[in-house]
Every structure is written in C-alpha cells, then in structure tokens.
C-alpha cells in the first residue's frame, strides 16, 4: 500500500505546475489503463476458472459416473457402505465445495437422463453418502443471497424429501427474488400448511407472472401427492387482481368444478373486467351450464374482452339452446373478430349436439 502511495505521489509531483486539464487527463489515462489491465487480467482469470471447472468436472465424471449410474439404476437396494465400496469413493474426493457441486451436477444429469430407471433407495443413499443435502442446506442457511438462491434451486432438484424448515427463515427475506423462490418451494416442501401464502399477502406483495408459473409448478406437484384444497376460498379475499386471476385460471386448470357456482357469484359482484373475463373463461372450461343465463342476459353491456370470452365459453359448453343467441350476436357484431369467434362457437355447438344448421 505504501508503495502504491509512493508511486502516486511521484506521478503527482511529475505534473506539479501543469494545467488542471493536463492533470485531469493524466489521472483519467491512468484510470483507463488500470481498467484495461484489470479487464485483461479478468479475461484470463475467467477463462482459467472455466477450464479449471471443466477439468474438475471431467475428473469426477471419469472416476464416478459409471459407478454412480450403475448404483442409481440398480434394481437391488444397497446401503451407503456398499455403495461407497462399489463406486470406490475416496474421502479426499468429497471434501471441498467444488467437489460437492460437481457431484450435484453429476447426480442431476444422471437423474435427468435415466429418470425412468432410478432406484429411489439407492439414490437417497448416495445423497446421504456424499452429504449433498447437508451441503446445500448449509448454503441456504449461511451463504450470501446468491448462494441461498442457488441452494434452494439445487436442493429442490436433488431431493423430494426436504424439510420446509430449511426455507422457513427465507419466507420473509427482504430480497424479493429469494423470498418468492422460497415461498413457491415452500408449497412443495411443507406438509402441514403448504398453501399458507395463498392466503397471506396474496402470495407476495410483488406477485408477477413468473411467480404464477413457479406457483403453478408447485401446486401441480403438490396435486400429485395429495388432494388440493378448493382454490376458490382465496379468490374473494385476494386484493391483488393478478393473483385473483391466477387462482381462477388454476381452478379451471385443475377442474375444480365445485368452485363454479362460487365463481359465478364473484362474477356478478365484481367490477374488475379482467377478473370477470377470467371467470367467464374458467366457467367455460368447467362447462358450467348455470352460467349461461347470466352471460347472455347482459351480454351487450360487457366489455369486448368479456364478450369474446363469453362467446368462447358458450362454444365450449355447446348447448343447442345457445344457438339463437349466437346467431343474434353474429348479426349485431360490428367487428370481424367477434364474427369469427361466433362462427367458431356455432361450429362447436353444432359438433357437440350434432345439429344441422339452417343457413343464415
């Protein structure tokens, strides 16, 4: 540090008495030169890091890939000691962070390629043997934000038997990305109160469409393990319109037909056109015939987006009684898009009820 200070003062003294413009320029030139050399060094260092990672990955793969694959895909259940002998695991190959990460990558790639053949017992034993769950749990608990995010992603991919307590401290984290990721994974991990955040804060105060996709994936995975609660219970009280619309779409996707009457009540009472449009779409998918009188009675008073969805919904539900209504709409339609939608709906009704249409 003293040496740097010495050179700095030396350089400064060389330009003593020069115009400020010159001194500023010399300073800027030194700065640019420094940045140039820094970037050039960085270029070499990054490349070196990439080569090192590649080499290490190759080393782990060459040593263990076949052995681990054989164990994971074996039909015979093995314990940790057997596995360690089979794959010839050395303690020194599992000490460092980079080794844990390479083993994680390796396991995930084998899991991805040989998904159908995985022996879950052996897989879990290998996780235990390599202490990978502990490693990533540790990253989630003690690492910086970036490491925590990585940790949550990795542990979710690695194992299905994660305790929700791992992400619990992160559920109210100030980092928006980490907090939302933790909450969406919480649904998968939690057994007691998985859907807590569908009630609380409308999942998150910064709910967006990427969260919708993550939530959808979590809810879908959960639906494969247990029966889903009626999502409609959260629709009425949700403050965030986007979250409301998301729940309505999920109700339609998971075909929760019992929610249909409730959605219709919300439709009647709602002032928000996007909510109404989503409800119409959902009721069409759920084929809820009870909605038809409500849709048709005040059709012309609704916004165009809602009208389009009503026509689509009528087409889906496909009742013969709807045909006169559709013909009237076609006659009154002032834009081509509506006419096209009505024609499609008429075609669907016809196909559904096998009716021969009179020419209009």
């Amino acid at each position: 540090m003293d040496r740097i200070k010495f050179y700095f003062y030396y350089l400064d003294s060389q330009f003593e008495g020069f115009a400020p413009i010159i001194r500023i320029t010399v300073f800027v030139v030194m700065l640019l030169l420094f940045l140039y050399l820094l970037s050039l060094s960085r270029l070499f260092l990054i490349n070196r890091g990439i080569s090192k990672r590649r080499r290490r990955r190759k080393e782990i793969r060459n040593k263990y890939e076949n052995g681990i694959r054989d164990v994971i895909c074996s039909r015979v259940n093995l314990d940790a000691e057997d596995i360690s002998n089979r794959i010839n695991l050395h303690k020194s190959d599992n000490k460092h962070k980079w080794q844990k990460e390479m083993f994680t990558k390796l396991l995930l790639s084998i899991k991805e390629k040989d998904r159908e053949k995985i022996n879950l017992n052996n897989y879990n034993e290998i996780l235990y043997l390599l202490r990978l769950e502990n490693y990533w749990e540790n990253e989630i608990s003690t690492g910086r934000t970036g490491r925590k995010i990585r940790g949550i992603r990795k542990i979710e991919e690695l194992t299905t038997e994660v305790v929700s307590g791992i992400v619990a401290p992160l559920l109210y984290h100030r980092n928006e990305n980490l907090r939302k990721l933790a909450r969406s994974e919480f649904i998968k991990f939690e057994e007691q109160d998985a859907f807590r955040f569908l009630e609380e804060e409308d999942f998150d105060r910064k709910f967006n469409r990427l969260d919708e996709i993550r939530l959808h994936s979590s809810i879908k995975q959960k639906s494969q393990e247990q029966a889903l609660p009626l999502l409609a219970q959260w629709v009425q009280n949700a403050q965030n319109i986007d979250f409301k619309c998301f729940l309505i779409r999920e109700i339609a996707y998971f075909k929760q037909e019992e929610s249909a009457p409730y959605l219709l009540e919300i439709f009647k009472g709602s002032r928000d056109s996007s909510v109404q449009a989503e409800i119409v779409k959902a009721l069409g998918i759920l084929q809820y015939e009870g909605a038809l009188p409500v849709f048709t009675s005040q059709f012309k008073l609704y916004k165009l987006s809602i009208q389009y969805n009503i026509v689509d919904a009528i087409g889906r539900i496909g009742k013969e009684e709807s045909l006169p209504f559709l013909f009237d709409i076609y006659d009154d339609a002032y834009n081509n898009e509506m006419k096209l939608k009505v024609l499609e709906a008429i075609q669907k009704c016809r196909d559904k009820d096998n009716i021969l249409l009179d020419q209009r």
Binding site: I21, I22, I24, T25, V26, V28, V29, L32, L33, L35, Y36, S39, L40, R42, L43, I46, N47, I50, G146, I149, R153, E157, N177, K206, F207, N208, R209, L210, E212, I213, R214, H216, S217, K220, Y253, N336, E337, L340
Partner: protein, 477 residues
C-alpha cells in the same frame, strides 16, 4: 481566432471526458445488471416452460423475406427448431422475384389457405396465405404480399396476422439460438411493470458453423470488417444497453432482433415504412405513447447472445449499412424533434434522445471537424506535441478500454467461442479498431447525413448474402 481555437479545444476535451464518464458509468451498471440477470434467470427457470407448457405465454416470430432464396430454408428450419412450447413463425414473402416462395412451398409442404386477414396496421395488400400440410411444420405461416419497398411494410404485414401478445421482429439473415424464446420472455414475466420490449445480444454469424439451420460452432468472423463489427456490437449490447436498461433508458431495440408487445405496436400504428431506422423509430414511438398516457413501462435487455446475423463482409457493404444508419439517425431527430428536451417525455426526452443526439449523432461530426482542426493546427505549427500525444493516448484508451471491458463481460455471460485465442483475436482487433475501422464508420455516417439532406432516392440496400450452409464444411459436434 485564438479564443475560437481555445473554445473548440476545450469543448472537444470536455466532450471526451463526458463520454468517458458515461461509458464507465454504463459499464458499472451493465456489470451489475449482468450479474443480477445471471442469478435470477437460470436453466431451471427456462425449464419451467417446457415442463408446464400450459402456462408458457405464446410468442410470435415475424421475419420478412425479399429475394432470400440463398438463406430462406436454413433460416426457417432454424426458427422452427426453437426450444419453446408455444410459438408461431410468420414469414412474410415481400413480393420476392426469385425462388424464395417456391423454396418455402417445396421444403415445408405449404398449401394456400383461406385469406383470413385483418389490416390492423397499414401495409401493402396481402395476396395469399400459406400453411403447411405437414404437422411437423404446423407453426409456420407464410404471408405472400405485394412488395412495399421496405422491411417495415413487410413487418406490418406479419404483425397483422400474428395471434400472440408478444412477437419477435427478426431479419431473415439471423439465426436464433434454440433457447432464445425462453430467455427473452423471462424478464417480461418477472416484472410488475409492463415490459414493452426486450433486446438481446446480437453477434456476427460470419465464421460460425451452421448445420441445417442449427448453430454448431460459434467463432469470431475471419474477415476484418465483421470482426471489428463483432466487438462493436458487443459494446453496444453488453455495456451500453445493459447499462441503460438499469435506468430504463434504452434508446433502441435492434431491428435485427427485437421482442415487442404486439398490442402496443399495433396501437402506435406499426412500423414506419418511410423510416430508415424503423427499429429506433418504433422504440421511440412506443415509449412516447406510454408517456403520453401516463402508463408505466419498461424496456429490458438481456446479456445472452440470442441472435447471429450476417455482418458486412467488405467495405462496400459496410458503407451501405452505415450510410443507412446515418440517414436513419438524422431522420429520428427530425421526425421526433418535439420529444427532444421535452420534460413531458421523461427520460426519453431529457436523457435518451439528448444522449443520442450529442454522443451518437454529433460524434462523427465532432470527430471529423476535430481531424480538420488538427490538420490546421499542424500546418500553423500550433501543436504542443507532449499534450497532443497525451490527448491521443486518452482518446485511444477510451476505445480499447471499453472494448476490453466488453470482451470480459462476454466471457462472464457465457463462453461462446470454444478457444480462448478467439477472444484474444477480438482483443487484438480492438487495438486497431481506432485506425482501421472507426474512420470508415465516421465517414460513412457523415455520408449518410449528407445523403439525407440531398434527398436522393434510397433503396434499402442489398446485403450480399453469403448463405450459411455452403461456405465452410460443417462438422456436427
């Protein structure tokens, strides 16, 4: 006279200092943005679209084609190969006189379908619409229209037909990476403010290996001109636009690759066929539209290399390209002059357009006059050579330092080139850019400005297509 000389010298000096400060500031912001995007958007997020296609938003791709028989089949194959569950590809045959349409019809088993077409934005009449009989190509639609003379007209024809809320505007000479759609939609979804456009990094396809429309090996170009342009493009995307994106002040989403909100493009009247820079014109109009309505918006930039385009292979083609860009830039300031320094338009009026005016538009003018001034001082023996070399070093270092920063950022995002020496090639070339390439860019830009004012009739300018598949033997890796 002395005071004029002093004034000019100081003005150029402070101009350079300001430009240096802006670039370094953008470099810092760009670095932070690259780190943030790399942390937020990973393969896991991208995989969600394939795993849950029911929630993946649909994306349209519009690509105009005029006399592109050399490249059209490879391009369409490449687009249809994209790894995303819900997308459509609309190729607009803009009255091609060669075998573009025949090649498309033959390769992709197209048949004419009923002309169900609505003119939401103006364009030349559409004659026919083709779709494929083969379910393998169900995503493809070809719109055959009367030639409108410009890419913008063809784009509008495509925009009229698309069905999804978002579309990508790309050129026919562009190859998109397979994961482009997944990468580009992520920042749109991960926002509480409507994202009206997204840009991505574009690179030169010259020198790369393509096998049946799929990029198999990325290399820097072998020829001089596109090699310089590779670094120039990377600077623009990885430093400038990534930096501007942090403060929501991106001046332009490139016409070679741009992701836009369909509804908004239609609302602003589509692409302007009279514009020489329809990409910057569209970006400006979209932002102005949102500002006029008091609506929040964001324009995003992702650091990933999503699009490879054929760069000018020689000086003549570079000249055509840069004169067009010059004409386009000056036209922007004339057409949108009411936005300049207009507080009503927020960052667009008070930051983006003034920056573009002073540091993009005026830069070639200042450089050219600076050179003339220097020659004058040399002849009148008024040069202080020690100061002269210092200033020259300063200006030279701005250029190579920003290039060096850019190349290091590129390696941070992803190692595109297989061999490290290919990055060093860019480093070496950037050292000579100021002498061997930049002067041409300045000259051609000025030519473009002059051409605009002398009102010559312009054609879009033919890129001399090399094609992808025939140039080098391709080896599938």
């Amino acid at each position: 006279m002395d005071s004029v000389i002093y004034f000019y010298q100081y003005m150029v000096y402070f101009y350079s200092i300001t430009l240096t400060t802006i670039y370094l500031f953008l470099a810092v912001l760009g670095f932070m943005n690259i780190r943030k995007k790399r942390l937020r958007y990973t393969k896991k997020e991208e995989a969600l679209f394939n795993l849950y296609p029911e929630v993946a938003p649909g994306i349209s791709i519009v690509t105009p084609a005029y006399n592109e028989e050399v490249i059209i089949v490879d391009n369409v194959k490449s687009m249809l190969n994209l790894d995303y569950p819900n997308f459509e590809l609309v190729v607009v045959n803009d009255g091609s006189k060669d075998k573009t349409l025949e090649l498309l019809t033959g390769h992709f088993e197209l048949e004419e379908v009923p002309l169900d077409y609505t003119y939401k934005v103006r364009c030349q009449p559409v004659k026919r619409i083709f779709k494929s009989k083969n379910p393998q190509f169900h995503r493809l639609t070809v719109v055959d229209k009367i030639n409108g003379g410009t890419k913008a007209d063809a784009m509008n024809a495509g925009v009229n037909y698309i069905q999804y809320d978002y579309f990508i505007n790309t050129d026919v000479d562009c190859i998109l990476s397979r994961d482009t759609l997944k990468k580009v939609i992520l920042p749109v979804l991960d926002s509480n403010v409507p994202v009206i456009a997204v840009g991505a990094t574009m690179r030169m396809v010259n020198g790369c290996e393509i096998d049946e429309g799929v990029m198999t090996r990325v290399r820097p170009p072998r020829q001089f001109v596109p090699t310089f342009q590779e670094t120039e493009y990377l600077r623009s995307y990885l430093v400038a636009k990534m930096g501007w994106s942090v403060i929501n002040a991106i001046p332009n989403v490139s016409g070679g690759f741009g992701f836009f909100s369909s509804r908004l493009v239609i609302n602003v009247g589509g692409f302007d066929p009279l514009s020489h820079a329809e990409d910057m014109d569209m970006t400006t109009r979209m932002v102005a539209y949102m500002r006029e309505r008091g609506e929040k918006y964001k324009i995003e930039q992702i650091p990933d290399s999503c699009c490879w385009t054929e760069g000018p292979s020689n000086i003549q083609v570079l000249r055509r390209q840069r004169t067009r860009w010059g004409r386009g830039l000056i036209q922007i300031f004339i057409v949108h002059r009411r936005l300049l320094f207009n507080r009503r338009y927020g960052r667009l009026g008070m930051l983006v357009l003034p920056y573009a005016f002073f540091f993009e538009f005026l830069a070639p003018v200042i450089e050219a006059t600076g050179l003339i001034f220097l020659i004058f001082l040399l002849f009148t023996q008024q040069i202080n050579f020690s100061t002269f070399w210092l200033m020259l070093l300063f200006v030279y270092l701005i250029s190579i330092t920003v290039s060096m920063i850019t190349i290091s950022y590129d390696l941070t995002v992803k190692k595109q080139y297989k061999k490290f020496r290919e990055y060093l090639r860019l480093v070496v070339f950037s050292a000579f850019e100021a002498f061997l390439y930049h002067p041409f860019v300045v000259f051609f830009s000025l030519t473009g400005y002059v051409q605009f004012f002398t009102r010559r009739s312009f054609k879009w300018g033919a890129m001399t297509r090399q094609g992808f598949s025939r140039a080098t033997p391709t080896i599938k890796i």
